[in-house]
């Protein structure tokens, strides 16, 4: 069976936030909830990096480990999902997730967060596939239609990859080989992408 993973290629991400917008639109994500976010380090400085982060669909998901009502489950494809009917909105999954994937719709005064919502790898939830109930609670179920998550499909530079881990890893491996040692120069990969003399020593 495939093991679904995301990979965001930090060398290619241009912080366009198309993935964020695509996710919010496709899944009708409520106000204040951000299933996917783009984080930029050293914005505006050479060597700036951006990463698109949502849920990492961990093999040993800490959110699933810590949930007091055990509402998480992992599908055969390795996608980590949860059951909103069981969720009590305690927020522990948010504390346990190193990536901050769980989100809550309400502002939380007196810990009234509402039910947890997070990236589902566009795989819906425990309700029947592609039913109205499922869409209303969890967003679209593209995986059941044989499609990949919309964030990766919409990525303008194909930095965000989603799919079977082996396939994704292979794509990235090819990229790394092609980029070669140029990354070692100032940490910016496409600056000296080829060994042609014209591009060498340009920005030293």
């Amino acid at each position: 069976m495939a093991r679904m993973k995301f990979y965001c290629d930090a060398e290619r991400c241009i912080e366009c936030n198309a993935c964020v917008t695509a996710c919010k639109n496709e899944n009708e994500v409520p106000w204040g909830v951000n299933r996917r976010r783009v984080v930029t380090i050293n914005d505006g400085v050479p060597g700036e990096r951006s990463l698109s982060v949502a849920c990492m669909h961990c093999s040993d998901a800490p959110c699933a480990t810590v949930c007091p009502v055990d509402c998480f489950y992992t599908t055969d494809d390795g996608v980590v999902l949860h059951d909103k009917d069981i969720c009590i909105g305690c927020g522990y999954c948010f504390y346990a997730c190193p990536f901050g994937a769980p989100q809550f719709p309400e502002d939380g005064a007196f810990a009234s967060r509402g039910k947890m919502d997070k990236c589902t790898f566009c795989a819906g939830g425990p309700e029947e596939d592609n039913s109205a109930d499922e869409y209303q609670k969890y967003g679209s179920n593209r995986l059941a239609e044989g499609k990949l998550p919309l964030c990766a499909e919409m990525c303008s530079t194909k930095s965000l990859l989603a799919g079977d881990a082996n396939v994704v890893a292979d794509i990235f491996r090819k990229r790394v080989v092609k980029r070669g040692a140029s990354v070692l120069n100032k940490g910016v990969s496409y600056q000296n992408a080829s060994l042609r003399a014209s591009s060498v020593g340009k920005d030293k």
Binding site: I88, G89, E106, A109, F110, S112, K115
Partner: protein, 218 residues
Amino acid sequence: MIADFIDGPFWYFSLTVFTIGIIWKLVTIVFGKRKADLSVARGSGISGAIKTIFSRFKADKGMTPHIRLQVVAGYMFHLGLFALLFFAAPHVLFLEENFFSFEGMSFSWTPMPHWAFIIASEFAFLGLLMLWLHRVLNPVSRLISTADDHIASILTFVVMLTGCLALLESFNELRLLHRFSVELFLIYFPFSRLMHAFTFIPSRAFTGAWFGRRGISS
């Protein structure tokens, strides 16, 4: 099935008992036969009645040092309860849907923010617990308290507690538990001391009118 019963027939039954019970009790009080006051009126009964309704909100000066806990906890409880009953968002919605909507139009008002709702309920719980504990622990109060007094306090507490447990507004079982306790409360209401919520007005008015007619400020 139980859900349909609680949301349906039992709700209407409890509402009917509540409404008819209150009207009946108030009618018997207000229109009951009273001893005629044959003395010459020295002051206005009506102004005395109205003044007394409001003046009794402040505790008697001589009593205050002895009943400080009852006054403080009493106001905490009643004000908190009033605020959360009529201004908590789920209640505003409930009242609008069940009492104030007709043929597609409805009347509603702005609820208070969620944090204010919680704080109001905390005041209400604090006040109610302190008052009931005082009733149980003070030997005089304990002696003069009847079963009605205890049941009223505990039933009110149960209504508030079930409401608190259902705060997430997600699980039907908890909502039904709260609604069921409310219905029991409504049925119990007209036959108990809880009627003080309505009878305090004619009670104070009568005392105020009686003394006002004799020219005494009470």
